[in-house]
C-alpha cells in the first residue's frame, strides 16, 4: 500500500513556498476547497435529517436510519466502479494512452472499494436488526460480495509492479471487464428471489413507496456522498500523479548513480 511514500531522509529541504503549499494542501485548488465545504455542510445535514428529523419506520423503528447511509454508499460504489470502467475505456481506446485516465480509474476504484465495504458492513448490521441475521447467501448479498472481491483484486493487480504504462494497460482491461457486474448486482433482486428488498426508488415500476421526509433524508445522503466521492477522486488522482512522479524521480536518481560509477571506472 505505502510503497510509494518516500522515506523522510530523502526529502530535500523545504523552502518558503513549499511550507505555504503544505498548509494549503498540495492537491487542493479553489474548486476542490469549495467542493469540500459543500460536502461537509451536506454531511452535517445528513446526520441531522438521518438521526433527528426523519421519523422512525412503522416496522423497522429506528433501524431505518441505517438506510440513509447504506443506500448512498452502495450508489457511490456503483458510480465509482462505473467511472473506473469509463476511464479504463478512455485509456485503452484513445490514441494518447494517457496515464491521467489510468489514475482516475485507479483512484475511483480505490474509493469505490471503500464505499462498498461500508455498504456491506452497514447492510449486515441492518440485516441483523431487521432480518435477524447478519448475512444470508442470497442473490443481492452474494453478487455484492463478489463485486467487492473483484475490485479488491483490481487494486492488487494495479500494484503488481512494472512500468506505469504496463500497470495502466493490464488494469484497464480488468476495469472494463469488471464493470459488467454492476447491472447484475442491481437487478439481482428482480432476477432471483432474494431476502433483500427490491429497489424503493430506482425500480422498474417507477412508483416510490416511501414517506416524504424519509425520501428527502435519503436524497441528502445521496448528494452528500456523491460530492464526497468527487472530492476524494479529485485529490486521490492528484496524489497518484505525485506518486508516479516520485517513482520516475527514483529512476533519475539511479541513472545519476550509474553515471557517477562509470566516471569513477574511467578515472581508475
Amino acid at each position: 500500500m505505502s510503497t510509494t511514500v518516500p522515506n523522510p531522509q530523502s526529502i530535500p529541504g523545504t523552502n518558503a513556498s513549499a511550507v505555504s503549499r503544505r498548509w494549503r494542501g498540495i492537491t487542493s485548488t479553489g474548486f476542490s476547497r469549495v467542493l469540500g465545504v459543500a460536502t461537509l455542510v451536506l454531511v452535517v445535514w445528513l446526520v441531522l435529517f438521518g438521526l433527528l428529523f426523519s421519523p422512525p419506520d412503522q416496522t423497522q423503528q429506528s433501524s431505518v436510519r441505517i438506510m440513509y447511509i447504506h443506500v448512498p454508499t452502495a450508489w457511490v460504489a456503483y458510480l465509482a466502479f462505473g467511472v473506473t470502467g469509463l476511464s479504463s475505456a478512455m485509456y485503452l481506446f484513445r490514441r494518447a494512452h494517457s496515464l491521467a485516465w489510468d489514475r482516475v480509474a485507479g483512484a475511483s476504484a480505490e474509493i469505490g472499494v471503500m464505499f462498498m465495504a461500508l455498504t456491506l458492513i452497514t447492510g449486515s448490521l441492518w440485516g441483523r436488526l431487521t432480518w435477524g441475521v447478519y448475512w444470508a447467501w442470497d442473490a443481492r448479498l452474494t453478487t455484492t460480495a463478489f463485486l467487492f472481491v473483484t475490485y479488491v483484486g483490481y487494486l492488487a493487480v494495479r500494484r503488481l509492479g512494472g512500468s506505469h504504462q504496463a500497470r495502466a494497460k493490464r488494469s484497464a482491461v480488468l476495469g472494463l471487464l469488471a464493470v459488467i457486474e454492476i447491472p447484475l448486482v442491481h437487478f439481482s433482486v428482480e432476477l432471483w428471489r432474494s431476502l433483500h428488498q427490491e429497489a424503493s426508488v430506482a425500480n422498474p415500476s417507477g412508483d416510490v413507496k416511501m414517506d416524504g421526509l424519509m425520501l428527502f433524508s435519503l436524497f441528502v445522503g445521496l448528494i452528500a456522498f456523491s460530492l464526497l466521492y468527487f472530492w476524494l477522486v479529485l485529490h486521490r488522482q492528484r496524489a497518484m500523479y505525485l506518486e508516479d512522479q516520485y517513482d520516475d524521480a527514483d529512476l533519475d536518481v539511479a541513472l545519476v548513480e550509474r553515471r557517477a560509477e562509470t566516471k569513477e571506472h574511467s578515472r581508475a
Binding site: 513556498s17 503549499r21 429506528s62 441505517i66 447511509i69 492528484r238 505525485l242
Partner: protein, 44 residues
C-alpha cells in the same frame, strides 16, 4: 435500544472511516509532493 446502538455504530463507522481516508490521502499527497517539482503541477 440495540437498534439505536447499531445505528450509532453505522454512522460513526461510515463517517469516521471516510474522514480518516481523506486525512491519510492528504498526508500521503503532501509527502509525495515534496519530491515532485511542485511549481509544475498540472492543476495549479
Amino acid at each position: 435500544m440495540r437498534d439505536n446502538v447499531f445505528v450509532a455504530i453505522c454512522y460513526a463507522l461510515t463517517l469516521g472511516s471516510l474522514l480518516s481516508y481523506a486525512t491519510v490521502l492528504l498526508r500521503r499527497a503532501r509527502r509525495a509532493g515534496r519530491v515532485a517539482k511542485s511549481e509544475e503541477l498540472p492543476w495549479t
